[in-house]
């Protein structure tokens, strides 16, 4: 069956000047707000729970149950923090929302703030996205001026929403939600120790919820059209759609909204246009650099939803597919990625700080032609030493990608020994 593009979050992306309020209003933006305020906040949360909406920043955790972790309303301020850090290599989907439909994000923030009864939202965006930050700020200014946000939502509802965009300073780890909060609080972006039980996040000691930009942007449609409009797409366990990104030597790299469960190879060939310049597919990193690599044979069996991806030993992550063609050395790929991780480790936990450097040096040694089988074992051993022994999942992610490359393409590492 042909792969079909679905237009929910991306509905307005192709409309000229879609980022401007006037155009956004003509094309359905803020239509969910009247319905929103006819519902009780807990009913909005329930609707999102029933929709099965899952976090689209990489974790895939259900959104509604996360909102339920907020404590009952009391005199304390409550916050919504929107994660637009988007630093995972291969991932460039949230920037489409900032660029083409910032008002869907603002609308989603109003819906989500009402559901969790927060009145202030912070959007944390990576510092490199200066242009996108300016574009989003223009939209927020327009929304304030029109009275859509501010002391009375849509100039009529007795509910205030304030939105502030917070520009990051260039640190991958600030995409991790607790590091992100630390960063806004004026500290180094060091992830926090997590409690044993599930609870909400804490911003300056006050309850907060952190959601990804795309997740929040998926909420208005669910509010306006009901959860069934969302569950008709995707799979039973992963309902709905996701903005899948494709990069590397395909004919049409870019971001495409698809329902979950599509066949990866069909997406690459039909939507991505297949490999360009007669290149042959060698491997795909399916959802940003942290996901275990898939060989060309595995790609043939891969489906784009969380459960299917787990079944073949990888993860869906952010849905950012990095296409690797024949002719590219997997030792170079491993080297490139470990340099990234070595540079971006926040340095808080010793296994991660030292482990990334150790693997980096060992791969360089192999590339210099002075490596041995022992070095391959060292890399695998360091991967295991890093796994599960750190505060956040950065180190396990390094283990996942590096170990999968070394195990699946071990012969390419061994070829360097003969030099």
């Amino acid at each position: 069956m042909a792969v079909e593009l679905v237009k929910i979050v991306s509905k307005n992306f192709d409309i000229p000047d879609s980022h401007k309020l006037e155009v956004a209003l003509k094309n359905g933006r803020y239509e969910s707000i009247d319905k929103l305020f006819s519902m009780k906040p807990e009913d909005v949360t329930e609707e999102v729970c029933k929709s099965g909406l899952r976090g689209k920043g990489g974790g895939g955790a259900p959104c509604g149950p996360k909102w339920k972790l907020m404590p009952p309303v009391d005199e304390r301020p409550r916050y919504l923090i929107v994660n637009g850090d988007e630093s995972e290599p291969g991932t460039f989907k949230d920037r489409q929302i900032f660029q083409y439909d910032p008002h869907i994000l603002i609308e989603g923030i109003i819906c989500s703030c009402y559901a969790i009864q927060a009145h202030e939202a912070f959007i944390y965006i990576r510092g490199e996205y200066k242009w996108f930050i300016d574009r989003l700020n223009e939209a927020i200014d327009e929304a304030y001026e029109a009275g859509i946000i501010g002391p009375k939502v849509m100039n009529k509802y007795d509910f205030s929403v304030d939105i502030t965009v917070h520009r990051g300073g260039g640190a991958y780890i600030c995409g991790e939600k607790s590091a992100l909060i630390e960063s806004i609080e004026g500290k180094r972006g060091h992830p926090r120790l997590k409690p044993h039980g599930k609870e909400c996040e804490w911003f300056y000691g006050q309850p907060a919820t952190v959601n990804n930009v795309e997740t929040i942007s998926s909420v208005p449609n669910i509010v306006l059209n009901g959860y069934e409009s969302y569950t008709k797409w995707g799979t039973q366990k992963a309902p709905g759609t996701m903005l899948f990104a494709m990069s590397g030597p395909v004919k049409n790299p870019g971001v495409y909204e698809l329902q979950y469960g599509e066949k990866m190879l069909d997406v690459i060939n039909e939507i991505g246009g297949g490999m360009k310049d007669g290149l042959k597919l060698k491997a795909v990193i399916p959802g940003g650099a942290s996901c275990p690599i898939l060989t060309a044979e595995e790609v043939e069996k891969a489906y784009l939803d969380y459960e299917s991806m787990w079944d073949i030993g990888s993860t869906l992550g952010t849905g950012g597919m990095m296409i690797i063609p024949q002719g590219v050395s997997m030792v170079d790929v491993a080297k490139n990625l470990i340099e990234f991780y070595h540079h971006e480790s926040c340095g808080q936990c010793t296994p991660c700080r030292e482990g990334t450097g150790w693997i980096d040096k060992t791969i360089k040694k192999i590339l210099d032609g002075i490596g041995s089988q022992e070095d391959i074992e060292t890399i695998l051993d360091v991967c295991e030493t890093m796994n599960g022994k750190t505060i956040c999942v950065f180190a396990p992610a390094v283990k996942d990608i590096i170990k999968s490359i070394v195990q699946k393409y071990r012969h390419e590492f061994e070829e360097h020994f003969k030099k």
Binding site: P77, E86, S87, E88, P89, G90, T91, F92, R95, R126, G127, E128, Y129, K130, W131, D162, T164, H166, R167, G168, G169, G170, A171, Y172, S183, I184, E185, G186, K187, R188, G189, F203, Y204, Q206, A245, M246, S247, G248, P249, P253, G254, V255, I285, A289, G320, M322, I324, P325, V328, D332, V333, N336, L337, E339, F340, H343, E344, C346
Partner: protein, 158 residues
Amino acid sequence: MSKFKYTDEKEKEFQRIAKKYPKIDAMMLPALWLVQEQEGWVSPDAMIFLADKLGKTPIEVYEFATFYTMFNLKPIGTYHIELCKTLSCMIMGAPELKKFIKDTLGIGPGETTADGKFHFSEVECQGACGGAPMIALNHTYHENLTVDKLKKIIEECK
């Protein structure tokens, strides 16, 4: 006592932004950005100024500023070329662009041309993988680059 001061415009902007946050600590990133916009870099003197303003010690500001890679801790050239080196850009031709920059401007990563015009940084993923390879020139993205396109961009700056 610091010799650095925000311009009136930046001071006004600082006060405007500060009202949005529950505590002044949250102004660390916005305040540093205002310094860098004003001076092009964050000097030790500016860090002392910020420490005073934000109720921190200078070393706390320094520790913060050094954690985030986008703050320039020394003056850089007029044009800052940031070349993405991460996987998709590597596959799509970033190494050729790096060679071109070295050959034409004579600078490697972390270096500035003698006339102070260009500074070159090799950076990690910029979230432009679909438009790989890319550079950011003073924060403006240039994507789907070839050596010819980069040549034109650099010539326009000269």
